[in-house]
Symmetry: C2
Subunit: 177 residues, 2 copies
Amino acid sequence: MSVRNSLLALLATRSAHGYALKSAFEHCTAGAWPLNVGQVYTTLARLARDGLVRSTQPQDHDTDRHPWEITPAGRDALADWYRRPIDPRPPRDELAIKVLLALALESGAVDQVLQTQRTATMQRLQEYTLTKRDTDPHRQLAVLLLLDAQILKAQAELDWLDLCAARIREHRAGSAS
Amino acid sequence: MSVRNSLLALLATRSAHGYALKSAFEHCTAGAWPLNVGQVYTTLARLARDGLVRSTQPQDHDTDRHPWEITPAGRDALADWYRRPIDPRPPRDELAIKVLLALALESGAVDQVLQTQRTATMQRLQEYTLTKRDTDPHRQLAVLLLLDAQILKAQAELDWLDLCAARIREHRAGSAS
DNA sequence: TCAGTATGTATACCGGGTATATATGTGTCA
DNA sequence: TGACACATATATACCCGGTATACATACTGA
């Protein structure tokens, strides 16, 4: 959904070709999520099918390439996206699933899973922190915000891993008695 | 990927039918992510194609339904999953994308986006906290761990939203001067 | 006995995402 | 000048995750 809505947001400021949309998306998001061009075209086709976007009419002796523009219905859909919070239903959380399955099926393996993940996440956190130190908060605001997000998520993950380990310890102590 | 690996993990403890795998997955993950049965069968078919799983040989006068079992290659793949941390490449973060696009394209809209999201996330956090209060840490360990994860993520999201607002304020103050 | 629910399998369909084929223009460097 | 890399530009094939649905059978309780 995010690419779909992003394309609407970009087209709301000015009409553009598919390729330009890819570039603009990557520019706005500071290159954090490279966008496959193919996806732009298929997404545009779906948006057109749903009446949120249309290709501008070719001028008389124009080439047969003409940019896409947003429709009124598209502006409505975009306004909805801005107005509503992001869908709160959590997508499948691979780490949580892995931990819960290990706990349920091979409870000996769960400590190893927690430990491995902790090391890897700690490593990532350090990389983010180093990168952040070299980020100019005036000229690279988007990069900085993204790093903030990744750092906060990594820290939350570490907290959760520690909490898991503690709760599982307690649980075992409780069961043993 | 998480369903694929989960099926391997479940089959590693005992062979089972597709439907039983669905039930077992939901049981292990405390019902947090209902699993569509259809996905179980298509995923099993892919696992079989890749040689990680096979359907057990039917006994002589057996019905033509027989459970799936994991292969040695499947056990290797599962061990890999347990051994390696979850892929650190962050998937597209819809909230971050929305904030960055709003900031870049309609910087007036970003405050509204941040505020709306903050309210919604705060609400969710309160719901999680209420649910957690009614969770027995001995009999519902999995539920508790999941709630911990959701709470920590929601708090991290709130922190990020506040940080965004602050950084954007600063940035505007800096640009204005 | 009939309706509802659990068990069980299969398939169609959609959307997100990647890879790839295929052009054309543009700049640059030996 | 010709070769080569690279950006611009579009289209399509393919895979995977995920949902909906059709279709059975068996149990179970009103």
